[in-house]
């Protein structure tokens, strides 16, 4: 009975731990998402900033400014506004194209996202104040995603 080989013993150890401290069910999917996001982020082509308005200071301390980015044939116009500590980004894609826009604050995936309307418009509200980038994911999967360089709210 004591003929258990080293391999057999280690197999018992594996089985026992797999049963008593199993991998949490959500873990693989969560790690796949995190790795895929980091991966796609690395290869992202950046849009080029071609225009930037001077900052407009409005009444009651609100501020807004506009940015214009270009990538290939796609133009992206952004109006960034902060009013009473609340942020709002209005965007306009020319020519209009179905895509999902995601805000990437720093390295973390975040839930701020919007789908571009038929007229090419989208809006993101209540983004955290600070530095962020927008990631543009065309629904046409043959088109790779691209992103704006970092800008500040």
């Amino acid at each position: 009975m004591s003929e258990l080989s080293r391999d057999a013993l280690l197999e018992i150890v594996r089985d026992v731990w797999e049963r008593h401290d199993p991998v949490p069910e959500h873990l693989v999917a969560a790690m796949q998402a995190a790795a895929a996001l980091a991966d796609s982020d690395l290869d992202l082509e950046l849009m080029e900033l071609v225009e930037r308005s001077t900052e407009l200071v409005g009444a009651r301390g609100s501020t807004s400014y506009t940015l214009r980015f270009v990538h290939g044939d796609t133009d992206l116009l952004l109006r960034i506004a902060v009013d009473n500590g609340r942020s709002r980004v209005d965007g306009w894609i020319v020519p209009p194209e179905p895509m999902t826009i995601r805000a990437l604050p720093g390295e973390r995936p975040d839930t701020h996202e919007a789908v571009v309307s038929e007229s090419g418009r989208f809006a993101l509200t209540d983004l955290p104040i600070g530095v962020l980038r927008l990631r543009l994911e065309p629904h046409d999967t043959a088109r790779p995603a691209f992103a704006t360089p970092a800008f500040e709210i």
Partner: protein
């Protein structure tokens, strides 16, 4: 491959643990060749291995998940540093182990104690255990769980890793490098005895 310091036993990896390593290498190669599904597969194959290696360091579930996520982010960002695709599994477990060890040293052990207590609970009580543990799984668990902490950790890491780096393991366990092989042998012997005593085999 580092040469074996001990010569106690030939270090052929157990057949079953070879599978994830070969799958990891294949998935890694597909990913590097431009197939994003390769990364998905690599994560699916290796995340369970990383879980068991990292949890051997008495980290809470949340801390363990952070360590594993950081390991994946490190892989994505430094994939060009992995010159030998065959080594990707070892690179992942080594990276995760380093971070787990660092984390386990820097965080208070309190939340982890709870985990360990919870894990240890089933083996408490004694006389009735023999009767209650009619299930073979319970007997096997009691034998593994009853090992000294150092053996529990060492065997869990060795069981899930293909070829752990003895030098680093020695540092983490506070043991001389040359004693890992013999210690592993003693831990396996203890387990063998515990299994026989428990009637688990």
């Amino acid at each position: 491959m580092p040469s074996r310091q001990t010569g106690v036993e030939p270090d052929e990896p157990p057949a079953r643990t070879n599978e994830p390593w070969a799958q990891a290498t294949a998935a890694f190669n597909r990913w590097v060749a431009g197939d994003p599904a390769g990364l998905d597969d690599l994560v699916a194959v290796m995340t369970p291995v990383l879980w068991h290696v990292v949890r051997a360091y008495r980290l809470s579930e949340t801390a363990a998940e952070d360590v594993i996520q950081n390991t994946w982010l490190a892989l994505v960002r430094r994939r060009s540093a992995i010159l030998d695709p065959v080594a990707v599994g070892g690179w992942l477990t080594t990276t995760a182990r380093r971070e787990a060890w660092r984390t386990s040293g820097s965080t208070a052990a309190t939340p982890v104690e709870d985990d360990d207590l919870a894990l240890a609970l089933p083996r408490q009580g004694s006389a009735e255990d023999a009767v209650v543990q009619h299930d073979e799984g319970d007997r096997l668990w009691a034998a593994v769980d009853g090992l000294p902490e150092r053996c529990r950790r060492l065997l869990r890491v060795v069981a899930f890793e293909n070829r752990p780096d003895y030098r680093e393991l020695a540092t983490e366990l506070g043991m001389p490098v040359g004693s890992i092989g013999p210690t592993r042998g003693r831990c396996l012997a203890k387990l063998r005895v515990a299994l026989i005593e428990a009637g688990g085999i």
